[in-house]
Symmetry: C2
Subunit: 493 residues, 2 copies
């Protein structure tokens, strides 16, 4: 039996002056609640004592009503569990066809118009993680997360927190955590900021949403990398922006092409440390060119630094934000990759003169971040679990990355071009002469989940796959690559 | 000294082929980091062993560089804490004027245009809780929350959770929690729904945001109660909606007036159980009239059932959603009032044919709710702590409400009209012949925080105050009401 919440007193309207006796009113209210599906089978009902107190009546009518409901089989008595709605009744939904009361649950009729903007989302097939292991995108090795340490910190926090920690907090997030993140970003990412510029968000997805709403009006243009991050595209489309795809070469976003296509875009979204999905690093020249364009035209740059904690080779890449002399860059990062996705925490570094607008938008969207986990993350950072975990994971992911590349070279040979292996949790494999979406479908029938590279393009897509290795055990990678090859070889050339 | 995160290896680019020796490169990188403010005073730096490993160099140059940095006073050695950035250096910001490198932090120049839509928010003064006790609005008695039980449940959850609980979850929220909430809402609020229709949101504010984006396009009209909830107004303004204020009388929203003003509004936002801020209950006739209008015109109804768990007198009021035969009602509720605000959890009951669109919008906004607290809330519900806590709080709040009313009658006499005392965590006091905003300012100088009733109106405001008593101890209420009277009596009549 499902365990259901109990002790809830149902909505019963008692009329002391009605001709109908009180016990009858109570009886009918319960019967109707059960028949209508408002009360569910197995659900515990309040004791007659509690019910009488709640309704402000004596216990006698409650006892009479319960006796009748028991006798008729609506209620059932269980030793040790009090009185429950009988489990003999059908479990799902209302007992009688709700349609008899005119309420069709499954197929409502009439004009049912949702907003036009909401259909820009459903037009594109949303691809979310459907599995685990190779080659799921956006997944991390949660089985290697120091769960024990985290739980100890959580328990400690619960103990130490005062009642005031249950109150609404700062919409920007805990002050101490923002201080710690500012320090971390300064050292590890070369970000120049004060804690006051940092807002804790529910994952970097929310930071994108706030930035889109605060920086752009409907109809405004935004440069997006081509290929680029689909979920970011959704944010800007939903916010009414005009997407201007700007191609990416081996130096990152081709700024001159952006200027040619749409000089007066209001913003540019870039992933300069590790371009998504191709993985190139934006060159210093391009960075300066982009910053100059922004300053000249009054545009904003949104830097999504989503996974550069994990760098396996080459020199470390500092953030674009650290180069910005004009406070044009909105910098965002996530804790989903370095800690775990269910945490739903990220951060955004806001140019000083935009802080107030970001706060106003945040208050509208959801008032602010939840409290508990912020404190735990702070301790995790302060006590060096954070830096230790990053180091351990970097070595783990580095091995996964190398294994994946070796396997691809072995299985797919020189026809496959691998990009983006210096950092992060995915690589891209470019394969000419295939149709990636067809291969994806074929692979899915064998429960191999692939993300087609073409889905990252708006126009003139290249074919291939974005292969995540964050949740792929080294031992499982060779088999997965073989299955990928098999799905490929069945493809029409 | 502030405790700062440590063990983070700064961004140092080493060039093995440069003429400059490695130890010099390391020295300069640290010095620059400190001077630029990327590294902060008191911050621990990595050990030379760790640094050498990270940079892929031998330990010798690292040791040399550290020796020099120590000698020059950039670093400092602390017994038991390793090497830190010297605390003798100025603590705040960069050591040298950042402007020398051309980066003005405080006063950026040039064209700095944010979106027009973001200025609809800053136009209105945002009033958020600034204090505690009487008469703060939206606050609850968090000092009476069973913190111990909650912490025990949290600790248990941490222990029992598997690694998979760290993964991305369902954007709608945990299945079991949605099941429990559906059962609770069916019994306690007469809501007719299946668990599949429920989405766990980050507070009901987020539910409003999703509803506004999914149901209305920019320029579409929405009926809002006049007076009504300011934060809801912000959501719809930010989403580009046209607000149509529809007045409220003693039977709730005057539907006929709404039809006259704007028959083809796309949606109506109502608080039928306990109107905000006046506290009236929408009559059965008005409910049916509203539902009929929605069905006839293809509009949606958003029912915000924000505080009806706490009812002190009169018959219990079932939800409008439970009456809806057409699946026109989007029902929303919050756990901020019955549990605590820092939880940031609420729920929305979605008409079946809109579920997919709500999910698509949620994925864009922030992917989904965080995991941990959902499990704790579920146990809190299942183990009857929830119903017990509601009962205890209802008695506590009921006493506060009665005390407040008695004091107001004593101090303000018959000139004050009190409304909305049957339920919830606030009452409204209507006072003719005053200018409430002036009284509010005067009271604020005595640290008495009042919310003017006029702020809930768009046009033709009535004067008075919305007085919250959720966080007001019974003993503190008389004094607070006296201070309110004092602020009033200094008012020009």
């Amino acid at each position: 039996m499902k365990k259901v919440p109990s002790g809830i007193v149902p909505v019963i309207a008692i009329d002391r002056y009605a001709a109908k006796p009180l016990h009858r009113q109570i009886y009918e209210a319960f019967r109707e609640g059960i028949v209508e599906g408002c009360l569910r089978t197995g659900q515990r009902v309040p004791s007659t004592r509690l019910l009488a107190a709640e309704l402000g009546v004596s216990r006698i009518p409650a006892l009479e009503a319960y006796a009748q409901l028991l006798a008729e089989g609506y209620f059932e008595s269980r030793v040790g569990a009090g009185t429950i709605v009988s489990r003999q009744l059908p479990d799902q939904g209302p007992l009688f066809n709700r349609r008899q009361r005119g309420r069709p649950l499954s197929a409502p009729v009439g004009r049912r118009m949702a907003s036009k903007r909401s259909s820009v989302l459903t037009g594109e097939k949303v691809m979310r993680p459907r599995g685990w292991g190779a080659f799921e995108l956006g997944q991390v090795a949660i089985d290697h997360f120091p769960h024990q340490i985290w739980n100890t910190l959580t328990a400690r926090h619960c103990r130490d927190d005062s009642a005031r920690s249950l109150d609404y907090g700062n919409p920007l997030g805990h002050r101490d955590l923002r201080e710690a993140i500012a320090t971390y970003l300064g050292a590890a990412r070369g970000v120049q900021c004060e804690a006051d510029q940092i807002m804790i968000v529910n994952g970097s997805q929310q930071a994108l949403e706030i930035a889109a709403r605060v920086l752009l009006d409907p109809g405004d243009s935004v440069w997006m990398e081509e290929p680029g991050y689909r979920f970011a595209r959704h944010v800007f489309k939903f916010a009414g922006s005009k997407i201007v795809p700007v191609s990416v070469d081996e130096e990152g976003l081709v700024v001159s092409r952006g200027i040619k296509r749409c000089r007066n875009a209001r913003a540019a979204l870039v992933t300069p440390s590790h371009q998504f999905p191709l993985g190139v690093t934006m060159s210093a020249a391009r960075r300066l060119e982009l910053l100059e364009w922004a300053e000249r035209t009054g545009a904003w740059i949104i830097e999504d630094d989503y996974d550069s904690e994990f760098r396996y080779s080459g020199t470390p890449i500092a953030s674009l934000q650290g180069l910005d002399r004009y406070s044009r860059v909105v910098y965002l990062g996530t804790l989903s990759k370095v800690l775990f996705p269910a945490l739903r925490l990220g951060y955004v570094v806001i140019p000083p003169d935009l802080i107030q607008k970001f706060v106003a938008a945040r208050l509208v969207l959801d008032i602010g971040p939840a409290s508990l986990c912020q404190g735990v993350v702070l301790d995790f950072l302060r006590e060096e679990h954070f830096s230790r975990h990053i180091r351990r994971m970097r070595s783990l992911y580095g091995e996964r990355c190398r294994t994946l590349i070796d396997c691809i070279r072995d299985e797919l040979g020189s026809g496959a071009t691998i990009t983006g292996a210096q950092a992060g949790l995915h690589i891209s494999v470019i394969l000419n002469g295939i149709r990636d979406v067809e291969v994806v479908e074929r692979a899915a029938r064998q429960r191999l989940w692939l993300v087609p590279l073409s889905s990252s393009y708006i126009a003139e897509p290249r074919q291939g796959f974005i292969l995540g290795f964050g949740s792929a055990d080294v031992g499982a990678i060779p088999k997965a690559v073989q299955r990928l090859r098999n799905s490929l070889s069945a493809a029409p050339q």
